[in-house]
Symmetry: D3
Subunit: 173 residues, 6 copies
């Protein structure tokens, strides 16, 4: 009876049935999104990546390819995302000695009826997971995150920029 009960609890739109928002009524406009992500690791591992001494190969390039491929297939990973024919995906990984770890920045853009934030966030996550995979034999304790949206442009809501971005995320703990 759970399903019926939920229906009576709340209004129609929140009955719990998964819903892909209908973007048909929206106008196609140029959309753009930027996301960033981080993976924290030991300074020892960071040095190995920089010196290309990771057994599985050139970490940054492989992770960038993984990020691009994943961004293009976002609608397969994320159930309620619309399939979007991306015009552009840019995935850029950089090493950060202070974090310490690797930072990824992903920019996506296209002309469409809905935004491309998810594509940017998915690309960032896939790139970081690939870094983890390639380096896990050296450091199992790596932590992925934060992964977050930095910017979003296009569509009804115009340009949004993440407030209060303080450079690199603080160390936990």
């Amino acid at each position: 009876m759970a399903r019926v009960r939920r229906r009576s609890l709340t209004h129609l739109d929140s009955e719990g049935r998964p819903r892909m928002v209908d973007v048909g009524p929206k106008r196609p406009t140029r959309r753009r999104a930027v996301a960033e992500g981080w993976i924290r690791m030991s300074p020892h591992l960071l040095r190995a990546i920089r010196e290309n001494r990771v057994e599985k190969g050139s970490v940054l390039t492989v992770a960038e390819v993984a990020g691009i491929l994943a961004a293009k297939r976002t609608a397969e990973w994320i159930p309620l995302c619309h399939p979007l024919p991306l015009d552009h995906v840019d995935v850029r990984l950089t090493l950060d000695d202070d974090f310490p770890g690797v930072r990824v920045e992903v920019e996506t853009s296209l002309v469409a009826r809905t935004g491309v934030e998810m594509e940017a966030l998915v690309g960032a996550s896939a790139a970081l997971l690939t870094v983890y995979d390639m380096c896990k034999s050296l450091d199992r304790e790596m932590e992925i995150g934060p992964v977050r949206l930095l910017e979003k442009a296009g569509g009804r809501s115009g340009v949004w920029r993440r407030p209060g971005l303080e450079g690199r995320p603080k160390r936990k703990g």
Copy 2:
């Protein structure tokens, strides 16, 4: 010339060519991994999820399905992962008022020649990205992370548990 140069810099295995580790010589054993992930959000949004008032539907169930599906296809997203016929994937999301946000825990297991950490981490990431997608109209500032391995068992290296796990991750900043 970069490629040639790298070759002379380092030993053969780290020339930068992406390499899928040959697991043929390993024995198939029962493998198990547990990963966790977090997404930080406003208390307002957390309440909306709890009360099932998110327009896109029942957030936790949809995210759990997304996590299971993604874990099964890990070798498609992560270039150097082996395709693995998983025996089991368990994706469990819980709401956490103190974080505040949603925590996901993923457990994977199978009998294979290589470990299932990546499947657990990919499942956790996909579940959290799905939470982001379903809730982004209410809160764009959500942050995914940390996503990290908690436990790994099976294979040559036996059982590993993440040291110093202090319950929920500290607030950044």
Copy 3:
């Protein structure tokens, strides 16, 4: 010689070579399709779904997610379908005590050069197959069908509605 023979038997278009129709000359217009599908089951199982006592989880929500995901990837399942960037997929499952079983209705829409019937029918099939999968330990004799198109709008042929729809399909036998 079969191939050559077929060529001489019939006119060029029906030589048997699979052919994806060229939709280039058509104008993009708003297209819409509605399909329905049924799965017949024991009253006992229907009750278990209603009371959420199926071991694999919340049947209706998981099946709805499966339907949405499959509809988006129709061109991968169905060889001669065009890849279409759907604007909208709606998958709605309901329990029917009289059939007895579960009914799914799928609505799809987009602006494109070709129709979205297949997306609706694929979404319906995937949702029903998911119901079967989640419930098969309780009832192996479930039957999927009929799955059929109810409505189609947009494009040259305008609006079509299935004639003589009598509510729920008759019991076989």
Copy 4:
């Protein structure tokens, strides 16, 4: 609160969280399944298929390929299915003047810890949907169904055969 409420309604296993059954404890044995499916159509269309006069090409062969491909990827369409390395898929379509329509029979087999019913049912559905797609310009009123399991062998429960199979399904209505 729906989620919490459901938990108190029923025992732990049926809290509604989607669950991929853990097949790790099961022994790998040879598994086999047979499913059938039907698509009802006008005698006119059936004749066109038989005479290979369908514009999109050789309907039966294309549908058989679609069935095989879909069966292999069952775990992508059906969320809680295990990925299974199939040893064999056989998809056979035949024309039936009395139904009238096309019948598909799919047999799947492998050595695994879980059964292959879903692979057989998915293969049957994809083959029938492909028939629909290739013929829909001639007859929109085709109906897919019944799609059902005929036989299942291997594993703890031994051999099961569908009781009371009366040849071709009765005409509805």
Copy 5:
């Protein structure tokens, strides 16, 4: 250090980071491409294909289906390709006694911001690989190639036709 070094070696665009070209600034126009491919085989095998005596089935039709399906998913195979909603794919295999072997010609078209050459080349390759797979029990020494672009139209660069095409490729050696 390889990565940093490369940066100083060359200008920004060729630092080695994989880059999906931004096609956003381009205008959508009708694009078209034609590719061809060949597979060389023994006259004995060619005869078996012609007489439909290959154990795995009707080689040409299955290969044509494979070519169409692969062309539609080009952006999954080829990392830096844009996902493109194809309007049309035509895959045509013919037997050639003089080569001897099978020739495939693939034509692709759509309205987009970027060309469809890769789709045509991918379709040709997948069709030829499928021929190899279906026939390999009879002749392991088959050779695929040349696979090459014949024509490309649309976009800034207008119509291009491969110069000096001499009918069938010369015998190697």
Copy 6:
């Protein structure tokens, strides 16, 4: 009638129905395959790849990643291939001034009931297509081929090596 006619022409197994060979009766053994492929290009382009001056990025690494990913998904591109859990894929690209062009060598291995030749050939093709894609703005006349099997080991037929391999393929014409 083509279909029926074919049936009477030949014995049951060659009626033209696509058939995935049943590998169930075979014993799992260690299998291995090596394939090679070539892409011919202008010396000018070859130099640009060597000096990493290709706009789309580091050609060899991206192509190697593409080859690995495609090999793992061979059963999706090639309709009658069995899904195989690869233990190992090695994709190695080298520049060849004399051809002139790029050579790829792919080695695949696993323990299974059927061989891994197709995985090696698919990996080689995808890597070469990726080279084409990344370089096509500099040279549209590149030609892919030959792509061919060099070696195959394991299973009933033991070790096979391609006879008469003369180093690099001769120039056409």
